[in-house]
Symmetry: C2
Subunit: 343 residues, 2 copies
DNA sequence: GGTGCAGATGTAAGCGCTTACAGGGCCGGG
DNA sequence: CCCGGCCCTGTAAGCGCTTACATCTGCACC
C-alpha cells in the first residue's frame, strides 16, 4: 500500500509529514514546527512559504507524534454510564465546551454494555491526561482508585473517595425542602420511589426525605426500591392502583420515574395531584409539558460538567488537587403536580 | 518536577515506562511489549514476571507512543452540533458502542458555540483515524471536503457530497405517508412547520409533505420556516392563535417543535386534535407521555451511529469507500394527536 | 573595522513504543 | 557428535514531532 498517494496536481493527499512540508518549503522541520506552533521567531516570508506548503500538501500533523514529544495528550477522558435522558447529555455538553476552550479534546467512554469495564478504563487512561468519572457509572471503586495515582481523576456526583477530587450537586437539603413542601400541602402518606442504594445521589435525596419527616416528628415510610428506568414507572403505578402501595404523595428519585408513574396513574383515571401528588428530580424538558407540570428540582448539570473539565485541566497543568468536595446548589421548581395551583 | 515519583513501598505511582517495567522484570522492552500486546511468543514464566512488574509499577502505556509506532490512533472522531434531545444521544450511544467493540475510542466534538469550527475540526483530525460528521452539524462543506482525502469521512444524515460516504434515515417517503395519514383524517389545511433549508433531512420531509398533497391533486401551503428549537414552538403557537396561520393540522419538523406548539395551544384552550391536529418527527420520550400521544416517525438513530462507526472502521482497515448513500428505513408511529382514536 | 547582540534558522537528541532481524539454547535425527 | 530447527529473547531502527542548543547573518555602536 502506497503511503504517500499523489494527486494529479502534484499535491499529496495523505501521508504528508513535517518532513515533506519542510522540503517543499525549503526549510528545516524545526522551522515548520515553529510556524505551526506559533512559537519561536520566524520571518514572515519564511512563515508564508511554510503555510503555502502546508496548504498544498494538505498537511495534517500527527497528534500522536506531538503528544509523544510534548508528553501530553491534550485530551480529557469522560466516563459516563450511558446517555439516555437530558442529564448526561447536559453534563457532557458542559464538559466538552469547557474542555474545548481549554484546548483539550474529549474522549468519551460509556460503561453500559461494556463487558470488561476495567480494561476499557485502562485503555482510556492510555490516551488521555486526566479522567472524569460519573459516580453512578458503576465504576468499580478499585478501578477508580487505580486510575487515580496514574492520572488526575475527578468523580462527578459520586461517593467521594479518599484522596480523589469530586464535584456534585446538593441533594439532601433540597430533597428536604421539596419533601417539606409536599408535607406542607397537607399530605401525610409520602412514599419515596427509587433505590437509595442505587446511586449516591439517590441516597442523599432519600436522606433529605427522611429528614423532612423527622423535622415534623413524622416517621417516613419505607422507600419503594426500584431502579430509575422509565419502564419501572408503570410497574410502580400498578402497585399503587392495586392498593399495594398506599400513598397520597410520591417523591420520586428522578423525573423519568415520576413522569412514567404520573402518566400511568392518570390513564387509570387517578387525579394528580388531587388523588395523589407526584414530584420528581432533574427538571427534564418533559416536566414542563405534562399536565399538571411536574414539580421537581433543577440541578446545575451543565455547570457540573464545566467544573469537572476545569478541575482536570488545573491538575494537568500542575495544580494541586482540591480535595474538599465541591457542592453546587440546586433549586426546587414548583409546578402543579405537588398540589400547588396550576400555572 | 520529579518525573518518577516513588511511593513508600518502592512502586512508582506515575511516569512508569516500558523501560522501567522491563528493568524491574529483568527483561528487554521488546519482551514487555510482546507480553502486553499478546503478540509473539513469550514463555509463561517470563510473561508472569512482566505482568507482576506492570502491576507493581502500576504501569499504563502511553497511547501516543504506541500510536506513533503503529501509525494508527485507534480512535474515531464524531462531530455533532450539540446534544439536546434524544436524537444525538442515541446516535452517539450507537456510535460509541460499536466503536468500542471494534477497539476504537471515540473523540467527540460539539460544534455549537465553537468560534473557529474549521480549526477545531482540523485539530480533531490530528488525533483520530477517521471522522463521522452529523450533516446538520453546520460543518462548512469545504471543511468536510478538506478532511476527506486526509482521513476517511462519513456524513450522517447530511447532504451527500461527491465522493464522501453517507448514511441516513429515510425521510421523504415516510413524510409522505405521515402527511397522507393526516389528509386521510379529512384535514384540508395542513401546514409544515420547520425550515426546509435548515437541514437536509427537513428538506426531505418537506418534500414528502408536498408529494402527499400532489398525489391527491392538492396544493400544499407554504411552510412556516422556523428553526427547530423548543423556544420557537411558543411563537408559532401564538401566530396560530392570532389567526395569522390558518391550519387544521400541523406537520412539524420534529417532536420538540410539535410538543411545544401542542402544549401551548392546549393551554390556550384549543383542542388537539379536535381543533387542530399536530404530528412530529423523532418519537422522543415525551411524545408517549403527552395527551394526546404525539403521532410521529421513529428513526433508527442508534443504528445510524452503529453503521457510521462500522464504516469508518472498515475504511481505516483498508476497505474501499462505499459511495452509494446508505438509507435506513423509518416507521410512522400513530398515536392520538393526528386525530386517531386515543389509545 | 571590530565587537556584541538579537533575530532567524538549522542540527540533533530525544519522547515511549513496536517490530524486523539477529542471536542463543536446546532438542531430535542423521 | 554435529546440525537444522524451533522457541524464546534481545538489539536496534524507526514512527513524526518538539525543542535546547549551536550557528549564522546582519546591523548598531564604539
Amino acid at each position: 500500500m502506497a503511503t504517500a498517494r499523489k494527486n494529479p496536481d502534484g499535491t499529496a493527499s495523505a501521508g504528508a509529514t513535517i518532513y515533506s512540508v519542510a522540503e517543499r518549503a525549503g526549510v528545516s522541520i524545526a522551522t515548520v514546527s515553529r510556524v505551526l506552533q506559533g512559537a519561536g521567531t520566524v520571518s514572515t516570508t519564511t512563515a508564508q512559504k511554510v503555510l503555502d506548503a502546508v496548504d498544498q500538501l494538505n498537511y495534517v500533523p500527527l497528534g500522536a507524534a506531538r503528544s509523544l514529544a510534548v508528553r501530553h495528550h491534550e485530551a480529557h477522558g469522560l466516563v459516563l454510564p450511558e446517555l439516555t435522558g437530558p442529564y448526561y447529555s447536559e453534563l457532557l455538553m458542559g464538559f466538552e465546551s469547557r474542555a474545548a476552550e481549554l484546548g483539550q479534546s474529549v474522549t468519551l467512554m460509556l460503561t453500559d454494555g461494556k463487558a470488561d469495564l476495567a480494561r476499557a478504563v485502562r485503555q482510556l487512561a492510555t490516551r488521555v491526561d486526566a479522567i472524569a468519572v460519573l459516580g453512578s457509572a458503576a465504576m468499580p471503586p478499585a478501578v477508580a482508585r487505580a486510575l487515580h495515582g496514574q492520572k488526575p481523576v475527578v468523580i462527578i456526583a459520586g461517593t467521594p473517595q479518599e484522596g480523589i477530587e469530586s464535584v456534585r450537586a446538593e441533594n439532601a437539603h433540597s430533597a428536604e425542602q421539596l419533601t417539606e413542601h409536599v408535607l406542607a400541602h397537607g399530605r401525610t402518606r409520602l412514599v419515596f420511589v427509587g433505590d437509595p442504594e442505587g446511586a449516591p445521589d439517590i441516597a442523599e435525596r432519600h436522606a433529605g426525605f427522611v429528614a423532612a419527616h423527622r423535622a415534623r416528628g413524622l416517621e417516613p415510610a419505607a422507600p419503594v426500591r426500584v431502579p430509575f428506568r422509565e419502564g419501572e414507572g408503570a410497574a410502580v403505578a400498578e402497585r399503587i392502583l392495586a392498593g399495594e402501595i398506599e400513598a397520597d404523595a410520591l417523591v420520586c428519585a428522578n423525573d423519568e420515574l415520576a413522569l412514567a408513574i404520573m402518566s400511568h396513574l392518570q390513564d387509570a383515571g387517578r387525579d394528580v395531584p388531587g388523588d395523589i401528588a407526584v414530584v420528581g428530580w432533574d427538571d427534564v424538558m418533559t416536566s414542563r409539558y405534562v399536565r399538571p407540570g411536574l414539580t421537581t428540582v433543577r440541578q446545575p448539570v451543565h455547570e457540573l460538567g464545566v467544573i469537572a473539565a476545569e478541575r482536570l485541566h488545573q491538575r494537568v497543568s500542575g495544580g494541586l488537587p482540591q480535595l474538599e468536595p465541591q457542592i453546587l446548589p440546586t433549586e426546587v421548581v414548583v409546578r402543579g403536580s405537588c398540589g400547588c395551583p396550576t400555572r
